[in-house]
């Protein structure tokens, strides 16, 4: 959205909230009690989407956290002041989620769903076991009676806090990190994001909100028992609400929640015995007909109108609403594997760069001082997949400040080497020393922060994020992290530098192959690397583009960045590499200057697979 309309929306929301807060004055008691239900669901659905929206982890643990909140209050209210109880509920929920998250967020997809579903059941059993065998009373009484208007106001505050909170988070580093993880966790980690920690943290934040809501909601009941707190209904309703509204938007789940409560009220009145069926049908309908939820569609509509209105003045694409990833052109499962085959339309995509190369971008803080010694030295590195030995006892040095070429036929283990260096794969043996420090065992994000950046052979641009956001990530989480604002300005400079300024607002999936490669490079540079690993970054360029690409790499090197490039394009190797390592079948078979290795019979043999190839 354009800034103007954003503030307008903000203002509207404030006013709306104010009105809602004053409403009870002339709202029927029933209005109040329904308001309570609405706000609770809004807060819960929003909290759910805060984590599950970006990461696409389908969590059914809502009920577990709500229940924890309820029980915390139920236990504490007898001895403590209400405010303290609620704080306690939030804290307990947070800690509980921290433990759960740390132990289970490594589970992907269905395993996570099952686990969270089970977690609720588990909590219900444990709590009833406790109440029956320890306190000998299943229902736990809430001895303070709070006026439902107070509950109404408290939940209203929580609902508003949830919506604005999740909107705010989405603008922070945390929010960006979370989105990046949802789009492509590998890239996120290689861009310096501590994925595990980010996930656990947000999971816990969302959970503490749920517990808080539960804590307040408990005050509605004269007494609670395990079926109230840990009833699965919470999890399902919240899930549907969020998906119905659209978990991709801060305000989507709120809409979903309102619609769902309306719907279920109608169903209870109209034909309650078919309630379950109707609920199920809702699920299916959402999955098939509104995968992204309602919010994106509304936004889309809004965008269309907005563009129609602003057509004259606004900058092209400036306020274009982005389709959610789910709406992006569906490609079959093999997409990724195909990408290597993907080829750009013939147009010199890099040409604008020529001009910019004369202008200087931000100084990349490269290897300080004059080039000396080895930036990185690999010794006795070994990695096998099943019976396949991908890398066997490989040793080499990367001289500081230079461009080193790593060549060899496909499948000779070059990319595996990069994965070992960047901590994507653990080696079976050997050591990797970065300027005197062993980096084996370091996790990808730590290696990125140690100022080693990489691009991927199968281009990996975050499809749902804009070009600009892609590059900002690098700056926000790279070797010296900054806030979004600073990152944004620097991202734009880098984009300008690689010639993508005019496409800053396009989302990754809308970019051509070449542009995606440029985004990847910009993203890597944004992390401020001292060592840059390029994996066939020049593959599939036409001669002109190739020339420009080569110049760009040279320029980067001149600015003090050491480069290791895996390449098949001999022309580039000759032009750039002072030092070339040749691999075959996981072994180093030659090393030296480009001229030396390319005239080495062993090399010609593996490349040309012919004994009299030299001729």
């Amino acid at each position: 959205m354009a800034d103007g309309s954003k503030w307008l929306a903000f203002l509207a929301a404030i006013i709306g909230a104010g009105v809602l807060a004053a409403l009870p004055l002339d709202l029927s008691a029933y209005g109040v009690s329904t308001g309570i239900v609405y706000f609770a669901n809004i807060a819960l659905a929003t909290a759910w989407a805060l984590f599950s929206g970006p990461t696409r982890y389908i969590s059914l643990a809502t009920a577990a956290f709500v229940g924890v909140g309820m029980y915390t209050v139920a236990f504490a209210h007898v001895s403590l002041d209400l405010a303290v109880c609620l704080m306690l509920a939030a804290i307990v929920g947070f800690l509980f989620a921290l433990v759960v998250g740390l132990s289970t967020l490594r589970l992907r997809g269905v395993y996570f769903v099952i686990f969270t579903f089970g977690l609720t059941e588990l909590m219900r059993q444990l709590s009833s076991w406790y109440e029956i065998n320890i306190t000998h009373k299943l229902n736990r009484f809430i001895t303070i009676s709070i006026d439902s208007i107070v509950i109404y106001e408290m939940l209203l505050v929580l609902a508003v806090a949830a919506v604005f909170g999740s909107w705010y988070v989405s603008t922070t580093r945390l929010g960006h990190a979370l989105r990046a993880i949802g789009e492509d966790e590998t890239v996120a980690r290689h861009t310096g994001i501590n994925a595990t920690w980010v996930k656990v943290l947000v999971f816990a934040i969302a959970a503490s909100m749920m517990s808080l809501v539960g804590g307040v909601y408990a005050l509605r009941y004269p007494s609670i028992d395990p079926t109230v707190g840990f009833g699965n209904a919470w999890s399902f309703q919240v899930l549907i609400a969020a998906l119905l509204g659209g978990p991709g938007r801060p305000w989507g789940p709120a809409i979903g929640a309102v619609l769902l409560v309306l719907l279920s009220d109608f169903l209870v009145g109209a034909f309650s015995r078919y309630f379950t069926i109707a609920l199920g049908v809702c699920f299916v309908v959402i999955v098939y007909f509104i995968p992204g939820g309602i919010a994106p569609r509304i936004e889309h509509l809004y965008g269309v109108l907005a563009r129609a209105r602003h057509a004259a003045r606004s900058a092209p694409g400036a306020s274009a609403p982005h389709e959610p990833p789910t709406d992006a052109a569906a490609v079959d499962n093999e997409t990724e594997a195909e990408m290597r085959e993907v080829v750009p339309r013939r147009r010199s995509a890099l040409r604008p760069l020529m001009r910019r190369l004369t202008r200087s971008g931000p100084m990349l803080r490269g290897g300080t001082g004059p080039p000396q010694g080895a930036m990185l030295s690999v010794d006795g590195l070994r990695k096998a997949f099943g019976g396949l030995i991908a890398v066997r006892d490989l040793s080499f040095d990367i001289p500081t400040g230079g461009v080193t070429g790593l060549i060899g036929p496909n499948g000779s283990g070059k990319t595996t080497v990069l994965n070992l260096i960047t901590g994507e794969l653990p080696p079976e043996a050997g050591s990797i020393i970065l300027q005197g420090d062993e980096i084996i065992g370091a996790r990808s994000f730590e290696i990125c922060r140690a100022r080693i950046a990489r691009t991927f052979q199968l281009v990996r641009v975050l499809p749902g994020m804009t070009t600009r956001e892609n590059v900002m990530l690098g700056r926000m989480f790279g070797s010296d992290p900054t806030g979004p604002a600073a990152a944004l300005s620097e991202a734009d400079i880098l984009l300008d530098r690689v010639g993508l300024a005019d496409r800053a607002q396009l989302i990754g999936s809308q970019l051509t192959y070449i542009d995606q490669k440029r985004v990847e490079l910009a993203r890597a540079l944004a992390t401020r690397p001292q060592l840059l690993l390029l994996d066939e970054w020049l593959a599939g360029l036409n001669p002109t583009e190739l020339k420009i690409g080569i110049d760009l790499i040279r320029r980067i090197q001149r600015e003090g960045v050491t480069v290791l490039m895996v390449e098949h394009v001999m022309e580039a190797i000759r032009a750039l590499c002072g030092h070339v390592i040749v691999m075959n079948a996981g072994m180093k078979i030659a090393e030296g200057t480009a001229a030396e290795v390319l005239s080495d019979p062993k090399v010609t043999q593996v490349y040309l697979g012919d004994d009299n190839a030299a001729a």
């Binding site: 490609v331 993907v342 496909n410 593959a539 593996v606 490349y607 040309l608």
Partner: protein
């Protein structure tokens, strides 16, 4: 026998193949050369039915259009692909992998003698018939992948970078096996980076560049072509 007419393939926004026309003659070896990202694998995948060409493109096998067929139908029709990266059933024994190769109705008759033939062609497989595929070395896995494809008694064998990750000795072993196949009258479509070996084996060669046919001709003609020399022979 196999003919691709005006094939264009796009993944989302990206056009991987653009108006490609290729002819494959019976009991000949057709090699397709090109850099990474040139569209070689996509070409084979299109034939094998793993990806669909844009409207207007045709894949004719014995003059029958197959571009909309499902992969298993195409295998049944007599085209077998040895996919890039081999895609063996790692959790299964060598023998099971081979048996699966003979799954199509057409291939079930005479399964056992074809099995014998594979074992004579690849003695190593005979030794390791009970071993799990995933525990074998790269060379053995590639052999198994080819043998599995041959079990379906294909009229055309499609090979996607068979020399991938093999040491020179294994590469020349591999190509000698392929030569024996061609001498046996097997038609082959070969996607390779290894230019010289391909030039030696192939009867006809297409060069792909950025999804287009850059040039085509007999090995002899190709050897003269300067661009090929430079771009794909790395010299």
């Amino acid at each position: 026998m196999l003919r691709l007419e005006h094939i264009s393939v796009a993944y989302g926004k990206h056009e991987a193949l653009h108006d490609v026309t290729v002819d494959v003659a019976p009991s000949r070896t057709t090699a397709i050369l090109g850099a990474n990202g040139a569209g070689k694998s996509t070409l084979l995948k299109t034939v094998a039915g793993l990806v669909r060409p844009q409207p207007g493109g045709k894949v004719l096998f014995h003059d029958r259009p197959i571009e909309q067929e499902a992969p298993h139908r195409i295998v049944a029709a007599g085209i077998a692909l040895v996919p890039e990266g081999r895609r063996l059933f790692g959790e299964m024994s060598v023998i099971d992998n081979l048996r699966i190769g003979a799954y199509p109705e057409r291939a079930r008759a005479g399964e056992s003698e074809r099995l014998k033939r594979q074992f004579t062609l690849f003695p190593r497989l005979a030794e390791r018939r009970q071993q799990l595929a995933k525990t074998m070395s790269g060379g053995e896995q590639q052999m198994l992948a080819i043998a599995r494809a041959l079990m379906s008694e294909p009229k055309i064998l499609l090979l996607d970078e068979p020399s991938l990750g093999l040491s020179p000795r294994l590469v020349s072993d591999l190509f000698s096996v392929l030569r024996r196949l061609t001498e046996g009258g097997q038609s082959i479509v070969l996607v390779e980076q290894n230019a010289y070996q391909s030039l030696k084996l192939a009867d006809y060669i297409y060069v792909l560049e950025n999804g287009r046919i850059a040039s085509a001709g007999t090995p002899a003609e190709m050897r003269q072509d300067k661009m090929i020399q430079k771009a794909y022979l790395g010299l």
